[in-house]
Symmetry: C2
Subunit: 307 residues, 2 copies
């Protein structure tokens, strides 16, 4: 394996693979002092070595750097990525004509901290690791290799497509960030009295507004179309509630719907962790349909190998 | 002291006052088995005893029961309340012509649990206990008695008015509940894939949607005017953000504003607990202004007595 970019995700992946003695080397633009780890600051040297060893390349840089890395990749080298916006990466890969060599992924193990200093062993244990199904039928071996990589570091592969991934994270990650910012703003507009009376509901509802503004922009803005769709849905719910509260003095169906939705979420997230994975032989007849069924059921998968 | 209604708040207050040997008796509609505590199921007997002992009466029933209790109060008995909607209670008190005998309060020690079974010693330790300043200048002794009651059980008296209280809780308690319901609904509409990818931001942002729907209605709907005002402010912020994201692909000022608001909240809530109280002699020249200044500064107060 060859990892390009050794920030929180790439660096932790290098540590985990090294710890289990899986052959791995990495490139980082700035030097990193990590005795025993195989790290270079030369991109050309690293890519030459990847080509010689037929290594699986893992793109682990921020999104803005991805296009120039794609342009430098050795011909025929297969690669994956760990960037959070899957349609944006897929478009950049397509623009370079590299679709046949690429299966995208997104280990969901982000944190407020970033950079090599934040890396640690075991970061991916039990983490969801969506792996993209787009055109998977044409590249079973590569799909299996990416899933096996996730499994090597203890993560749970979750099959989906780039579009469905981006729509999902807009709902359950980007929208919560935007709401937390808006709630914090509205609460603070009530001044010190309001804030001195604030308790658990406000504290929890605004927690992620403590994230650095540039980080919130970096995760939400590249996913603007999906975020807009989710935000419009939410605005419709809130506007309906507003009209009912004004006209009838009641919240209408919102408390029942919200309560049922939260209970559904609790069931799904409990099941996601407690149910055993769906075991799949990649390349066997119907393997893509098996993965799509697992996605629909909210189940993770374990790849047994590739036939 | 005489407590009418022994649910979570009234019952815990009875336990605390009894524990420090402060004379206290209570009324509850349904019988309560609590050896050693002075509890009656007869409202007329309890009110006769309150009149004979010139007791401070504490209304601790749900809001719908308050008007009939007000109609039954002995003439000249002074009273306070622990109901969460301060303008609604003040209006009911005014309708009965009892303003001169009343100072409202709201110990902020609610919980998901309710009823006598949920009562416990120490529930009010360090809790904010807003006490209403409306017409306070005309009734300093009663204002001081209510503040001293809060202090007896370890709570922090916070002076404010009914209107400012209700506007503040709309922002920092009712609005977070409505947003949590709406976010849960929008997240769950993404199905099992979205929910299986949800992490901390969604979990925290929807936590209070787990509250029973009838509880959410009971706390939000009686405060409809203030909730509407806060919801309209929030909708304006979100709509502006939506337009900017659509037009420019950016979140505009929202991340900076939200981050600054959250940091401001953290400062205020830390200061609220760590700064010493503003000490006030009720009835001394300028005492109401001193309390208003404490409210503006987000400080709690300690009443030293009444001159």
């Amino acid at each position: 394996m060859c990892i390009l970019g050794l920030g929180l995700i790439g660096g932790s992946l290098l540590r985990d693979l090294h710890a289990i003695k899986h052959p791995v080397f990495g490139y980082n633009r700035s030097p990193i002092s990590a005795p025993g780890l195989d790290i270079s600051t030369s991109l050309p040297d690293t890519l030459t070595r990847a080509a010689e060893n037929n290594a699986l390349i893992i793109l682990a840089t921020p999104m803005p750097v991805v296009p120039q890395l794609l342009a430098a990749l050795p011909p025929q080298c297969e690669f994956t990525d760990v960037v959070s916006m899957k349609t944006a990466v897929a478009a950049a890969v397509h623009a370079q004509g590299l679709d046949a060599q690429f299966v995208g992924g997104h280990p969901m193990a982000g944190a407020a901290e970033s950079g090599w200093e934040a890396t640690r062993l075991g970061l991916f244990q039990d983490a969801a690791w969506p792996i993209m199904l787009d055109d998977a039928a044409t590249k079973p071996h590569l799909w299996a290799d990416v899933a096996l990589l996730a499994q090597l570091v203890g993560a749970r592969p979750i099959p989906t497509t780039a579009a469905r991934h981006d729509a999902a994270v807009a709902r359950i990650s980007h929208l919560p960030h935007i709401l937390a910012e808006a709630l914090a703003t509205t609460g603070a507009a009530g001044g010190t009295l309001a804030l001195s009376l604030a308790a658990g509901s406000f504290r929890d509802g605004t927690r992620v507004a403590a994230a650095r503004p540039e980080l919130v922009r970096a995760i939400c803005e590249p996913n603007a179309p999906a975020v807009l769709a989710a935000l419009d849905e939410l605005l419709e719910t809130l506007t309906t509630t507003r009209q009912q509260l004004h006209a009838t003095g009641t919240l209408g169906e919102l408390p029942d719907n919200g309560h049922a939705a939260r209970k559904y979420y609790e069931e799904v997230s409990t099941a996601a962790l407690s149910l055993p994975p769906v075991e799949v032989c990649v390349g066997a007849p119907g393997w893509v349909q098996e993965l799509e069924a697992a996605e629909t059921a909210g189940r993770w998968v374990r790849v047994l190998g590739c036939v």
